[in-house]
């Protein structure tokens, strides 16, 4: 059982989602579920140029550790969990967050990934600045 997590400014390499999913593969697991959060080109009708993420890194990692602990309580059969959040500028169509969870059967990994991204958005101190064509706006990372 491994929890892997990182919140930092490193750009995700090409085929990073593949690397993250391989981190959680296990011979005893029939299911890997992934969620990839991506910068999209609009917010409430406004054209987004890019996003910029900022975190209270040490606290963010503490909060992600708590999420991993909760996942293991709720779904004891979950095997490996990987959570990677990128900081700084993230251009459109690039990933800012990748979550992968493995489990013997599919229901647990699917539910755990859903719980993980929802709780991450609600409780981990990461903020995003939406840069529009002529203005910007700081958001909690909820959306």
């Amino acid at each position: 059982m491994i929890n892997t997590y990182a919140v930092n400014g490193r750009k995700f390499p090409k085929s990073f989602s593949n690397e993250v999913s391989e981190l959680v593969v296990s011979p005893s697991c029939g299911a890997v579920s992934l969620f990839i959060g991506i910068t999209r080109n609009n917010f409430e009708g406004k054209k987004v140029i890019h996003l910029e993420y900022e975190a209270y890194i040490s606290m963010a990692e503490t909060e992600i550790k708590k999420i991993c602990r909760n996942i293991r309580q709720k779904w004891p059969s979950v095997k490996h969990i990987a959570v990677h959040h990128r900081l700084g500028v993230v251009p459109i169509t690039e990933a800012s967050v990748i979550i992968a969870v493995s489990s013997p059967h599919r229901a647990e990994s699917l539910e755990a990934v859903m719980y993980c991204i929802n709780t991450l958005k609600a409780s981990v101190p990461i903020w995003k600045k939406e840069i529009y064509e002529d203005e910007y706006s700081w958001k909690e990372n909820k959306e």
Binding site: E54, A55, Y56, S58, T62, S123, P125, W138
Partner: protein, 76 residues
């Protein structure tokens, strides 16, 4: 009795305060709301985000209420 606390600012609060971290001297016995008020005294521009601010002490979220904080570490 007062103590030194290290205050970190993120996102919009960093922009409004004009800095990302500083050390403030505050009473050791203080509620969350009083601590926020101390911070706003130093950085009046922060007043506008009072209703949205996410506030954490020793890496634990706290509401801006009357609960007494235990300020131990250097970090707030």
């Amino acid at each position: 009795m007062r103590c030194q606390v290290s205050v970190l600012y993120f996102a919009r609060s960093a922009e409004l305060a004009g800095l990302r971290s500083e050390t403030l001297s505050v009473p050791r016995r203080i509620t969350a709301r009083q601590l926020w008020d101390e911070i706003v005294r130093v950085h009046p521009r922060l007043a506008v985000i009072r209703d949205q601010v996410v506030f954490a002490v020793q890496q634990e979220y706290v509401l801006l209420g009357d609960q007494l904080l235990v300020l131990l570490g250097p970090e707030m």
